[in-house]
Symmetry: C2
Subunit: 141 residues, 2 copies
């Protein structure tokens, strides 16, 4: 029972790698990476996120988000308004960011559809819901 094959961490990371590579192959040619898509998506849905707030929503270490934003800021897809160190920062997606996201959307949708189709939409929803529950419970501890 307690072997490598059953390890929750290993198994989830393993499938995350494969799925990420699959999504990457579909959106890379549009200039953004699958890991950047949710950041842009969150900013497009609602402006004015703070760093800590957005990192919480993404389930990502705050300091990780700081680094992940760097390439997006450098390329002008995201703007960070605020004094930076010490002061609160307001994040917003730029017009260029919106355009990039829109361009990558067909590729993303194709990947998403193919992944979901493997198990079916219902099964997939159940798994996502269960995994979400795991994440929530683990963050309490």
């Amino acid at each position: 029972m307690s072997s490598v094959e059953n390890c929750a961490c290993f198994n989830v990371r393993r499938v995350a790698r494969v799925i990420t590579q699959f999504f990457d192959a579909k959106v890379r040619c549009h200039g953004i990476r699958p890991t950047q898509t949710p950041i842009l998506g969150a900013l497009q849905a609602k402006d004015g996120w703070g760093m800590a707030e957005l990192s919480e929503w993404l389930g990502m270490e705050r300091t990780t988000l700081v680094r992940n934003l760097r390439p997006l800021q450098r390329d002008g897809l995201v703007r960070a308004n605020g004094s930076g160190r010490g002061g609160r920062v307001e994040l917003e997606i730029t017009q260029k960011g919106r355009t990039a996201l829109a361009k990558a959307l067909p590729g993303w949708r194709s990947a998403q559809n193919k992944v979901v189709a493997i198990l079916g939409e219902e099964r997939w929803s159940a798994i996502i819901s269960d995994l979400e529950q795991v994440a929530v419970k683990l963050k309490d501890q």
Copy 2:
């Protein structure tokens, strides 16, 4: 339907982050990381792995495994016998590696039990099995 919240890549990566942090908190104090555990585990179960062979089994890019082995080799937990560039390499776990893995096992088991307990063993097995299927189908494409 096609929003950030439903993205398969985002959701799986998200839960992978949380689970990894949880495992990390349990095994870090024993000197190894949750991402290194499966490598050591695979080598303990069977010696003589080649690079490509092991990376395939781990569902990891071959070049990623090369880098991930570096800290383990540096710390003397894993040995790579072979000419390296060009020639086939035989990987093996050292005695120090076996000891480190054994020391971390209680922490790992604790984390594993707690994660599995959230959904129950049956539910968890079903999810792992389904995700495994997704990984296999995606690698064909």
